[in-house]
């Protein structure tokens, strides 16, 4: 039993399971060498003990956490999840199925990190946990693991295949097959949330940005710096136009843009779902590609990709050969909005429409990992003829979170509903985002819960329409 007289004894004995309990609750039992025990061992090896100890259980992170807010349950909070991880490494608890489920309930939105005054690196802890789980688990829904196998290992690492898929989707979307599939009710075979998602997917493209416009783009006017563009896989397949517009915004603002064609997927989805080794090998490819291109910045227009790129130094910190390159890359990564505000020369944007109202949904990873929340807002406030309205809890995750909306549809659906209440309350004409996942999720939200008036756009598309066009028109007028 715990000796209440001595805080010290309490503290130290509590690290060993057996002494802590008083009313006979046994840690979940398990036979030796059981998968749970193996997983416990893996977790003990993987989890960063310092970070676990750094969490002082103050609870400052609780109000920031969307899953805690949805449920009000301690285990659904960052403090709770860290306590569970620590309990496993302390031998106080077995990593049972509900432990695995709890870890996959976390959105990975990292809102808990800026809220934590003790600077606990929660993102690293959850990734380490998921990495250990991923090697062991049988508990996914039946389709998750094979789907991941295909998507993560066979698809995303190979740009050509991504484009092939883009082509296949294009064929499907444009050839009438989609119509046929929809009318034949094939969609009904998919889980509801997947078929809903299918409906809001933009038209895919078999050609990526490099195939469409080439990989080298000189600055307009005086060159400020050379930026390497990170094109992304989803972005490049579903939002090729946005990628092209990104280049135009950048060249317009005075940057020379190169798009190394040897770059790979960023690895974010892999890292967040525990496939860390795959993420590392993708990171190495990207470092090589951008180092060869000799760039001053690496610009991203997808918060999720930008965030993992900016954390390559952590991802590869144990890799002696690549460590330095990873730091080199991580230091140079910047989001398009930040680069434009910080370094670019920008013509003021103007809307040609009636005065409009705009609002902005943060990309969690852009905000919480890249810590960029001001730049997109500053850009939007500069658009004349547009009124920027801050949405209540714009900083809260929309539920998209990588593949979260696909694997955790219930929680994601709840979050989206709440999000759309706030979005609708702004009465904005445009809802803008900085990440393809969020963009799709918000499109889905607007389609499901919207008032039909709100357009959802990537911030780049919105600005491009009002900046480049204006300035080229201005140039024409002046000529």
């Amino acid at each position: 039993m715990v000796k209440t007289e001595d805080r010290l004894t309490v503290g130290i004995t509590s690290a060993t399971a057996a002494n802590v309990n008083t009313h006979g609750t046994e840690p979940a039992c398990s036979s030796p060498r059981s998968p749970q025990l193996q997983l416990a061992g893996k977790l003990k090896l993987r989890l960063d003990e310092d970070q676990l100890t750094n969490c002082m259980r103050c609870g400052f992170c609780l109000p920031a956490c969307p899953t805690f807010r949805e449920t009000g349950i301690e285990a659904e909070s960052p403090r709770g999840r860290i306590a569970l991880m620590k309990a496993v490494t302390d031998g106080l608890m077995m990593p049972d199925q509900s432990f695995e489920e709890q870890m996959s309930h976390c959105l990975g939105c990292r809102a808990c990190e800026p809220a934590c005054p003790a600077d606990v690196k929660y993102g690293q802890l959850i990734e380490q946990t998921r990495e250990a789980i991923e090697e062991h688990t049988e508990s996914h829904r039946w389709w998750v693991k094979p789907l991941r196998q295909v998507v993560f290992k066979q698809l995303f690492p190979h740009q050509k295949r991504v484009r092939l898929l883009g082509g296949a989707m294009q064929l499907y979307q444009q050839s009438g097959l989609r119509k046929l599939a929809r009318s034949a009710g094939v969609m009904k075979l998919l889980p509801a949330h997947l078929s809903e998602m299918e409906q809001v997917l933009p038209n895919a493209s078999s050609k990526g940005i490099v195939q469409k416009i080439g990989s080298h783009h000189p600055a307009k006017g005086m060159k400020i710096a050379t930026v390497g563009m990170f094109r992304g896989c989803l972005m490049d397949m579903l939002f090729t136009e946005t990628n092209i517009k990104t280049v135009e915004l950048l060249t317009e603002a005075g940057f020379e843009v190169v798009i190394p064609d040897t770059q790979a997927c960023c690895g974010a989805l892999h890292a967040h779902s525990g496939e860390t080794e795959d993420a590392r090998s993708l990171a190495r490819k990207n470092i090589a590609a951008f180092q060869a291109a000799g760039v001053d910045y690496i610009v991203s227009n997808a918060g999720g990709c930008g965030a993992i790129l900016s954390e390559y130094d952590h991802l590869l910190h144990e890799d002696e050969q690549w460590r330095e390159g990873a730091v080199w890359l991580a230091k140079r990564v910047v989001d398009i909005s930040d680069l434009l505000i910080r370094s670019g020369k920008l013509a003021t944007a103007q809307t040609k429409e009636q005065p409009i109202r705009i609002t902005y949904q943060d990309s969690c990873h852009l905000r919480n990992v890249m810590r960029s929340a001001d730049a997109p807002r500053k850009l939007l406030r500069e658009v004349s003829g547009a009124e920027f309205v801050e949405m209540f809890e714009a900083d809260r995750c929309c539920g998209s979170a990588g593949t979260y909306n696909i694997v955790q549809p219930e929680m994601a659906g709840g979050l989206l509903e709440r999000k759309m209440e706030h979005a609708n309350a702004t009465k904005a004409h445009y809802l803008l985002t900085s990440n393809p996942g969020c963009l799709l999720q918000m499109k889905l939200g607007a389609a499901k819960h919207g008032d039909g008036q709100m357009q959802v756009q990537h911030i780049v598309d919105f600005l491009h329409e009002r900046l480049v066009h204006n300035s080229s028109e201005k140039a024409k007028e002046q000529a």
Partner: protein
């Protein structure tokens, strides 16, 4: 785990979603904000109403099962660690504001309400609820009442106890009592309201509170005074009070604290100062201007290196927010942060700060000090590493001496965080053995079978008071 029949009785009261005893729920209710403490409960229950609390208590009382009331588990005295097992009763579902009575200036709320939401609501109605513990974004009104929490405004406006007018509470037997009410005056018998405030969940489960509201101050000004000399800063605190000025906030931060707070909040504070005072005065414009001018004079006469007044409300808020994060920001230094809560008469602040430094030095431990200096309430905070047992022993020895010093200077072992588990061995130092006996008799009257938060406040054995060798 509880016996199946008892489990079923509890589930029958709250429904199967709201009684949990899976390993995950037990682990996540085995700790609170206090470092190095952990013990698993047998179950976790989430009642939705006073009636449910009462029914639960009846079941638990019949089977003699301990119950630990829990708000958000942010307390720093081990108050919600279920050291003797039993059922943790989480109050989060009872989180409504039942009434704001604008005629009587009172609000009636449920205990699971988050303090900050309550303050925000009250302020939206043009009223003011002053108790503002730094944890208010997370902590609950029930937790605040049970710990009698204080905050940055305690000096002028008092602490939670000054705002609780009435309570509804469930006794260990399951009986429901009501104390006080919307009345400003009430001397009918013993003041049970005051007794329950600060009772740390050991006398009853609070299920409803009637809270006093006041008109908000019209005007306020925030200033920052920086010192190269620690003693000068501490003396300023005593001198301001001596000059009969009661600022609404008078906070002290030493150099180590300033450094981490700045690192966290990115305020650009000067890092070479030995101490900073954060001072706020509120009230009528004229009075505020006069007081602030006078305070500035006092700061300068005590050799303040610089004195500056916040230019805007945003800047002021940033400073206050930074101060509120001091404790957790200190956690950036070392893995384990142990914060204490020694309090002395305000005239002894300077002496106490020196004592703390001397003791830290003697035991070779790092102790940063900040706190509500204006109340005499200091938070000496050790940054250490729980894994280094030898160092932890030194930290413990240092704190023991710090409590001793506080008592010797006419102070107490805790000003606002409560006794809980952590300070129970020292309680006798403060209240004496007769005091302990009276308190135990009160406990007996409320909770004859010792089911409510057992192991807290009363230690099995008191610590011998150390005899200090000075020098």
């Amino acid at each position: 785990m509880l016996q199946e029949t008892i489990r079923q009785q509890l589930i029958a009261i709250v429904g199967s979603d709201f009684y949990k005893d899976d390993p995950q729920s037990l682990v996540t209710h085995s700790y609170d904000g206090t470092p190095m403490l952990q013990a698993l409960p047998d179950g976790v229950i989430y009642p939705a109403s006073t009636e449910q609390v009462s029914a639960i208590m009846k079941v638990l009382n019949t089977h003699r099962i301990p119950v630990i009331g829990r708000g958000s588990g942010t307390n720093l005295c081990g108050g919600t660690v279920p050291v003797e097992g039993g059922v943790v009763m989480v109050m989060h579902r009872m989180n409504r504001i039942l009434e704001v009575d604008l005629e009587n200036l009172v609000a009636i709320v449920q205990p699971g309400l988050i303090t900050k939401s309550f303050i925000a609501h009250v302020e939206s109605l043009g009223l003011f609820y002053p108790p503002d513990p730094s944890s208010m974004a997370i902590s609950t009104i029930g937790g605040n009442i049970a710990e009698c929490s204080g905050g940055l405004r305690g000096l002028k406006y008092g602490t939670t106890k000054d705002y609780v007018l009435g309570l509804e509470a469930v006794l260990a037997s399951g009986e429901i009592i009501r104390t006080g009410g919307k009345l400003m005056k009430d001397v009918a018998g013993y003041d049970l309201t005051k007794l329950l405030v600060g009772s740390e969940g050991t006398l009853a489960i609070i299920t409803e509170a009637t809270l006093k509201l006041v008109p908000p101050p019209k005007y306020k000004k925030t200033m920052l005074a920086m010192y190269k000399d620690l003693y000068g800063a501490a003396r300023t605190v005593s001198k301001i009070i001596e000059n009969r000025i009661i600022p609404s906030t008078l906070e002290f931060l030493d150099n180590a604290t300033v450094r981490v707070v700045d690192d966290f909040a990115k305020l650009g504070l000067p890092l070479d100062m030995e101490a900073i005072l954060l001072i706020e005065q509120d009230g009528e414009t004229e009075m505020v201007e006069r007081d602030i001018a006078r305070i500035e004079e006092i700061c300068r006469s005590e050799q303040a290196h610089s004195v500056s007044v916040a230019e805007s409300p945003e800047e002021a808020l940033k400073l206050l927010t930074a101060r509120r994060s001091a404790f957790t920001a200190l956690a950036r230094l070392r893995p384990t942060t142990i914060l204490e809560d020694a309090t002395v008469p305000r005239s002894k602040i300077a002496e106490m700060v020196l004592e703390i430094n001397r003791i830290a030095h003697k035991h070779q431990v790092t102790i940063c000090t900040f706190g509500h200096a204006g109340d005499g309430n200091l938070h000496p905070t050790a940054t250490t590493d729980a894994r280094d047992k030898e160092e932890i022993h030194r930290v413990e020895a240092a704190f023991e001496e710090i409590f001793e010093a506080a008592i010797r200077l006419g102070g107490t072992i805790t000003g606002e965080h409560g006794v809980g588990l952590v300070k129970s061995p020292y309680l006798e130092w403060k209240v004496g053995s007769a005091g302990i006996e009276v308190m135990k008799a009160v406990k007996q009257a409320f909770d004859p079978h010792h089911l409510l938060n057992p192991g807290k406040i009363f230690a099995k054995q008191s610590r011998k008071r150390v005899v200090l060798q000075h020098g």
